[in-house]
Symmetry: C2
Subunit: 430 residues, 2 copies
């Protein structure tokens, strides 16, 4: 163990998260000596425009020249908080090749190029840590990789997008429609002007890909993830869910089944008794089931300056400790299996369907027989709202492979008594 | 990094948790090569009676001779799951001095002799890991020590005793009295024949002492913890709590305030909206507030064979990795501060009091004036149940230093209009 030195880190990017990291490094100055045995300092900060004034940031640290950081051998840790695929990918690869350790919060990059980056880190025996890439401040990567390492993890399920959870909470507790709730989220800065990545489930998809890779020790990339967003969820669906003693959440779901990995993002009806059901507003939570530990859940702030910086700092302190103890790379890529990812057609789920149908005798019998002929069992049928010529039928199926449901839907498509199917939402449970 | 060797561990004790660890080591045999880079095996098991047959356990591993393990230099990890203070303390100290790493689930020992053990581990640069000592399978020690290392943690609050949580859940949801709920807990094996350590809060007290030490980087021992159990909680108190939109939970509470550390175990009214409120039955959860991360919570099984073994295995795999990378001792004792622990008298809380009083005019004014004269502000006053000559007054105070409350109680003691004060329970909040 090497004491009394200074460990130098460089920040790539000093936006929201980078600014938070900069603050925490200053705030924890005294603590580092005790926690790591050395001082820790931010020696350089890479920005696009080094001339721009940034309040609270020592302008002497700013540089717009990556080579200046890359070639500085005194910098042992690169903290990548710039986001996006390029140039972040190139910088991280170059940093690792130069023998630096990397801490990143970049979920987009990891969910697409994780293998390439992890391979390089392993080759160089350096740390590549990314606690902040999933669920912001919530400790989840280290618990999955280390604390639960004695388990076969069979399920990871998370509310990992605060924007959509905020929108769904507004819809649930204030009866708002999606568009109104989205507007409020945008006004409050929770949702971006183009909210696609959040509301279509892409952001959650990247996070669940990363968690699935770690939990099941097998590489899952974003392109493996089936995603479905919340734009079609209506206040009426939420009301029906409530009648079924459920709430609707946007969930990232990953399961290790005998025939492969299932990995999806979609809205889901989940019992109010499930611990995830009471995770509201912009909070995140990840629920994990392991064969030994049983059910566990990790809850907290999934985004924001300081929560995300908290996760980055945990990693920075850990890698600094590894530098001191000459054991960087001690926890390398854990994807040592090659488990196939199942097609969504082959995944079993329970479904909630809200169908607008002709208000004629025999319509329910017709629907039931189509489901029956396609092997779709019905657990519940409600026929609650009836207009003059239309009825609304709500069914909850037993777990069924998705292709059987789709076969039924194709037949409904050609039936004049079925006017419209405004909602098809998965339901948690066996 | 040293690959392709076998790391040998010895189990001290093979009861519930030890049996679970033995099972998991077998179950995960194939995984170790990938996770650690070596094989991992249980080479010896220390028991009192080596001749006793133990189904499922290889009898050749059993020994009743500690020296056989201590002197065996091929054994690099000692897993202490025997419990109790002695001989566990001596064995752990001897193991560390012999250069072995130690994983323990022994909260009693750590809460009393933690410093001595940690000092020895530090001296020898060996690992002393104890994830299983607090909240069973829930990852909490590693998150506190590593993931949240960039925070000043100000509050840790946990439901860390499954027995009392089960009893309180029965009382809350089925209207049972304490004695009946305890009986059921005993019949189900959740509570021991002598339930004192659980119901009086001693078990929770040991766990909160350990968590406080880590969270605040300052040694807190069990003797610093003020404990109050749940034996006096009645179904009526739970009903009143419900009216106040609260539930009653037995909480381990640790706060870092400007004037010192507060560390207590007591029943508490907590808002139904708080994430801890819905942690029911034998589940545990630990809620942590850090200056950067904000609120986080960790939820899961706090006891049981495999959940606890899961935590032990996480530690075993971690120390095995450190052995491979020659970096044992990389995370040593983190109690580098010396913050005073406050006396309970000086700790501010809100209180719920249920008082049986004479049903005479002016009694409420009398009570209010005693509180007022002693600096105790009242947030709520209810006078709900009235018998012939008795009234029941329930008050909720504003936060007040405990000694002011006790001053009031001393005066009530001498007042004939106060018949009895059957419940004094703390209330969460500012």
């Amino acid at each position: 163990m090497e004491k009394n030195k200074v460990i130098k880190a460089a920040l790539l990017g000093v936006g929201t998260v980078g600014g938070g990291v900069y603050k925490l490094v200053k705030r924890q100055k005294e603590e580092f000596r005790h926690k790591i045995g050395t001082d820790l300092e931010i020696a350089k900060i890479l920005v696009r425009d080094a001339a721009k004034e940034r309040p609270g940031i020592d302008s002497e640290l700013l540089t717009d020249n990556w080579q200046e950081i890359l070639k500085d051998d005194s910098i042992e840790i690169v903290i990548e908080v710039m986001g996006g695929i390029e140039p972040a990918r190139t910088y991280i690869l170059e940093a690792l090749r130069a023998g630096k350790n990397v801490v990143t919060a970049n979920k987009d990059l990891l969910a697409e190029h994780g293998k390439e980056l992890m391979d390089e880190a392993k080759e160089m025996d350096r740390d590549l840590l990314f606690e902040a890439a999933v669920a912001g401040g919530i400790p989840i990567i280290r618990p999955l990789k280390q604390c639960l390492a004695g388990n076969y993890i069979t399920e990871v399920m998370g509310i990992v997008n605060g924007t959509t959870n905020f929108i769904l909470s507004k819809m649930t507790y204030e009866g708002m429609d999606f568009e109104d709730a989205l507007k409020i989220a945008q006004d409050l800065g929770y949702a971006e002007a183009d909210p696609t990545a959040d509301v279509e489930g892409y952001d959650a998809g990247r996070k669940i890909a990363i968690m699935a890779s770690i939990a099941f020790n097998s590489r899952v990339t974003f392109s493996d993830v089936y995603t479905e967003g919340i734009t079609k969820i209506s206040a009426l669906d939420i009301e029906y869910a409530d009648n079924l003693d459920c709430v609707i959440k946007l969930l990232g779901v990953a399961r290790h089944k005998e025939d492969g990995i299932e990995v999806l993002v979609h809205p889901m009806l989940i019992s109010k008794k499930h611990p995830l059901a009471s995770v509201d507003d912009s909070f995140n939570a990840v629920y994990v089931h392991g064969d030994a530990v049983g059910d566990t859940m990790f809850y907290g702030r999934g985004a924001g300056e300081l929560p995300t910086a908290s996760a980055v700092m945990g990693d920075v302190i850990d890698t600094a400790r590894n530098i001191v103890y000459h054991c960087t790379g001690r926890i390398a890529c854990s994807c040592y299996k090659d488990i196939p990812v199942k097609k969504v057609d082959d995944i079993k789920s329970k479904f909630f369907l809200r169908m607008v149908v002709s208000n004629t005798p025999g319509v329910l019998a017709n629907i039931a027989s189509v489901f029956g002929n396609n092997g779709v069992g019905l657990e519940r049928v409600l026929q609650q709202k009836v207009e003059k010529e239309k009825a609304e039928i709500v069914v909850v199926t037993y777990p069924v492979e998705e292709r059987h449901l789709r076969d039924s839907l194709r037949i409904f498509d050609g039936m004049s008594i079925i006017k419209n199917i405004p909602a098809i939402i998965r339901v948690y449970g066996e």
